[in-house]
Amino acid sequence: MTKKDDQKPIVFEGASDMPPMSASQGSMSVNKTASWRSIRPIIHEEKCKSCMICWKFCPEPAIFPTSPPTINYDYCKGCGICIEECPFDAITSEKEGK
């Protein structure tokens, strides 16, 4: 039950069940940052050479190191670094529909 692991949001009743000090134990992975995204990166398998440069530079990280890489759209903030850095133009940008 530590911040190493994904977990559910933590809700306190009040002072009584809070720790004595501001000691954070939950994982920020509760915070799905998908809503920050205004563009969506799309990996095109046919172009991808699995060089893993996108994985390497994703700041979240929101890319799994599979071959080809997989984007975790729950967290991808749409920064576009993967698009910019892919040496094979294998990632394109789509407007988020919202």
Partner: protein
């Protein structure tokens, strides 16, 4: 993750100690930096983080984005807090844990310099990483002594843009004659990780000056973070070198050095600069790179 996808050879450790969901801006160089650092050092690491963007990026109570213990500290106290941590570990006989102080340029070049100087003078067993985004970003882009000549910030408005070279923190810390000092750049994570691993293997005080652009403060697209970081090194604005026991080594010697203008013009914070300023900046970059080469010549391996 679909089951049929297969694993590939990676140039960085695969483990992810930093979780997604953190509060960094899109394309934040500092968030990439932490990801690499924790890849390099693993879970047997304790972080000391002063006020800075990372104090927020880690997340609000009761959450955190790093899978290791983290102690927030007062803005000026990262190195002193880390001194306490590393001495406590020593005193309690825990010798397999790395103490990592992790601060911004403001917390390092300015308000935290004294604590840092004291800690490295005492040769405390810790790694200190400054992720340098060249201004106080957490409070909204005010000048630090790392802000480079010519840059706009909210306290160096366009009419009074920052004059003078940024403080040379590497030379200052090298002057403390500690076992290991190095520069690194988020554009070259393999190099950064190698240096952290080397630092981990050395006892005593280790210092890494890490270049980490901030799209919000530098006014460039979030997708350009790595590109601009790379340009800083490709133009010799931010050379990659290390000083091990006083021995200088430039780790990346750029063959085709690009003009600094290319680096500057990619960022909004330099937009107001007239041509002659660009030339001046180019001359200063040349000068300080020359200085570094001389240092390597005088104090390098072959010297």
């Amino acid at each position: 993750m679909s089951a049929e996808t297969k694993k590939v050879r990676l140039t960085l450790p695969e483990n992810e100690v930093m979780s997604p969901g953190h509060l960094a801006c899109q394309g934040c160089g500092a968030s990439m930096a932490m990801r690499y650092a924790l890849k390099a050092l693993g879970r047997k690491t304790i972080l000391s983080v002063p006020a800075c963007c990372w104090a927020v990026i880690d997340g609000p109570f009761p959450y955190s984005a790093v899978g290791v213990p983290l102690q927030q500290s007062a803005f000026e106290a990262a190195a002193a807090t880390a001194s306490g941590i590393t001495n406590a570990l020593k005193s309690l006989g825990k010798d397999d844990i790395t103490t990592l102080a992790w601060a911004g340029d403001g917390g390092t070049f300015d308000i935290g310099l004294q604590a840092l100087s004291g800690a490295v003078e005492r040769n405390e067993n810790m790694i200190y990483v400054v992720y340098d985004n060249e201004a106080y970003m957490n409070t909204g882009i005010q000048r630090s002594s790392s802000t480079p000549h010519g840059a706009w910030t909210t306290t160096t408005p366009v009419k009074h843009y920052r004059k003078g070279q940024k403080k040379n923190i590497m030379e200052i810390i090298v002057a403390h004659h500690i076992p290991y000092c190095a520069t690194a750049n988020i554009a070259y994570p393999e190099d950064f990780i190698k240096k952290l691993q080397k630092a981990k293997s050395i006892k005593g005080a280790k210092f890494i000056h890490l270049f980490a652009p901030c799209p919000t403060g530098w006014k460039h697209g979030p997708d350009k973070t790595v590109k601009i970081a790379r340009l800083a090194t490709e133009t010799n604005t931010f050379p990659i070198y290390e000083v091990e026991n006083g021995v200088y080594k430039i780790n990346k010697k750029i063959k085709n050095v690009k003009p600094v203008a290319e680096y500057l013009r990619a960022q909004g914070r330099f937009r107001h600069l007239p041509e002659d300023e660009l030339e001046y900046i180019q001359s200063m970059v040349n000068k300080s790179y020359k200085r570094l080469e001389k240092l390597e010549a005088a104090f390098g391996e072959s010297a």
